[in-house]
Amino acid sequence: MTHAIDMTSLGKRYKGVAALVGVSATVPMGKVIGLLGHNGAGKSTLIKLILGLIEPSSGRIEVLGQSPWGRQAVALRRRVGYLPESVAFYGNLTGAEVIVYLAKLKRAPRQQVGELLQRVGLDSARDRRVSTYSKGMRQRLGLAQALLASPELVVLDEPTAGLDPQATRELYEIVGELRSEGHSVLVSSHVLAELEPHIDSALILRQGELLAAGSVSELRRQSGLPGLVVVQVKDAADPAAFAQELHGLGLAHALRHDGRFDIQVAEGGKLDLLQRLAANPAIDDIVVEEASLARLYDHLGAGTKREGEQAA
């Protein structure tokens, strides 16, 4: 089976400056993949390479089994949908006119226009000028056009930037529907916590290099990042004595501003620790926090930074 995206040692330089270096990864069909990284990590460059908007400087990339760059790739673009970051569209046209124009360019069937506008909830605003749309409505319009001609791969670049929580949730609902319909989705973001529940796996970029790739649980295992147990000590108990106790057990811990303790525990030692804590009469409440993508990201990022500093 071909992959949605297959990259080998992919690199891109702009006027001698490396924007992306030696990225090798595959994106399977029918999955939702998160593309993570801070601003300037190379996310936009990678997306442009996937869309065939720029030519790779080195390495190889295949999208749906074809090279996306060059003349023969024009036909491939019908099978890929794309929502650029914060697109304003044509303010003087109505929502429906924008979609009709883009549908013609993509050779999408005309009846898809109404269907897609309904799907993203813009049916009632279809005859209003896009310049009167809110940010959330423009993003939904962007999503509608990305789905024209039912593309096999949908690329969403920072789709929730500037959206309120309600609009963000609605957007991810549609992403979930796309996956169940068999589309492959690549969604970039720097808001890690928000992306985590919606993706099957992640590609993490840092300074143009692929830091890690895999499902969130795989990444957790790979990173060896400790889990976190948050403990609330009873009012009557002495926090200092509890801290001393933790110290005696050799457990790394930190006191939060709200008076709760963060206790770091290795993946294997979690159950043992929980039994101990449950038996401790000084403890009021226990919360187990799994290593989130955000912490994972910080952990991995910090790791390379230290290596970089040592090298320098």
């Binding site: 702009y14 442009k48 869309l51 065939g52 908007l53 720029i54 003349r71 024009v74 036909a75 491939l76 673009r77 019908r78 890929v80 794309y82 650029p84 970051e85 914060s86 697109v87 304003a88 569209f89 044509y90 303010g91 003087n92 124009y101 883009l102 013609k104 360019l105 993509k106 050779r107 962007g142 056009q145």
Partner: protein, 277 residues
């Protein structure tokens, strides 16, 4: 429908929505009628005068207006899409860069040509009804010549605007460059030529080279096309005086005009293909 036709159709409709082109059509119609009716006032009579005199005045007017509108409707054709974030989007669609620029170019040219034809056509119809004597084969030839050359003049400035649009990074800079281009071609170029003419004092070099320098400005080529057709004594004495000793071939003038369309258009295509987005 081809991608070029789809893009051209959108630009064509946008130009009429933005009303620039409608303004040109109305301006041409009103001024053509006004000049035709009041053109003879200095000689003591009002009423529709000959088409030739009207055309000569309209040539002077079109030489200012058509380049300006061509630049105005087309300067943001690529940089504008870059500004509102749609350039990457459209380039991710199944169209080539060549098709995008070609479609936009053709759409704007068609809009400007339509405005010229409709505006001027309306005036011609009215004059024909009011003044049956204006009907003659020669008049029709001159009218056709005017509309064709004005459309080519518009196309050449749309092509120049497309070069500006693909080379600039933001809309404000593109608008500034468009304005500079207009001033340079409408005013500065002719002033510079006039200065050369005065300073050189009428030597032999001037006689052979000077008339050909006018080829370097599409606006002057447009004037020459129309004044060559209309002959001297049509109200552009200064301009004709500059070139009186040289006989221009109409086909050469049209060839030069066509080059002023094709060369900037090809340059814009070349530059856009190499542009990093």
């Amino acid at each position: 429908m081809s991608s070029i036709a789809i893009i051209a159709g959108k630009e064509f409709r946008d130009d009429f929505r933005n009303r620039w082109t409608i303004a040109v059509a109305i301006l041409f119609a009103v001024l053509a009628l006004g000049i035709a009716y009041f053109g003879g006032a200095a000689a003591g009579k009002v009423g529709f005068t000959s088409f030739d005199a009207t055309l000569a005045s309209l040539t002077t007017l079109a030489a200012f207006v058509v380049p300006l509108i061509g630049l105005l409707i087309a300067y943001d054709m690529v940089v504008g899409e870059q500004d509102n974030g749609t350039l990457l989007l459209v380039l991710s669609y199944p169209i080539s860069r060549t098709e995008l620029v070609a479609g936009k170019f053709l759409g704007h040219c068609a809009a400007l040509a339509t405005a010229t034809l409709v505006g001027f056509g309306a005036a011609v119809v009215i004059i024909q009804i009011m003044q049956p004597e204006a009907r003659s084969a020669g008049a029709w030839l001159n009218i056709g010549n005017f509309v064709l050359s004005a459309s080519l003049l518009g196309a050449s400035f749309v092509a120049l605007a497309s070069v500006i649009s693909v080379t600039t990074g933001d809309k404000a800079r593109a608008a500034g460059l468009a304005l500079v281009t207009w001033l340079a071609t409408v005013i500065i170029f002719d002033l510079a030529l006039l200065a050369i003419l005065v300073l050189s004092g009428g030597n032999a070099w001037e006689q052979s080279v000077f008339p050909r320098l006018l080829y370097l400005n599409p606006i002057d080529v447009f004037r020459l096309i129309n004044l060559t057709m209309l002959g001297s004594g049509s109200g552009n004495e200064l301009f004709m005086g500059m070139t009186a000793t040289h006989v221009y071939q109409l086909w050469v003038l049209y060839l030069v005009m066509l080059l002023w369309v094709v060369v900037p258009f090809a340059l814009a295509q070349f530059l856009f293909r190499r542009k990093e987005v």
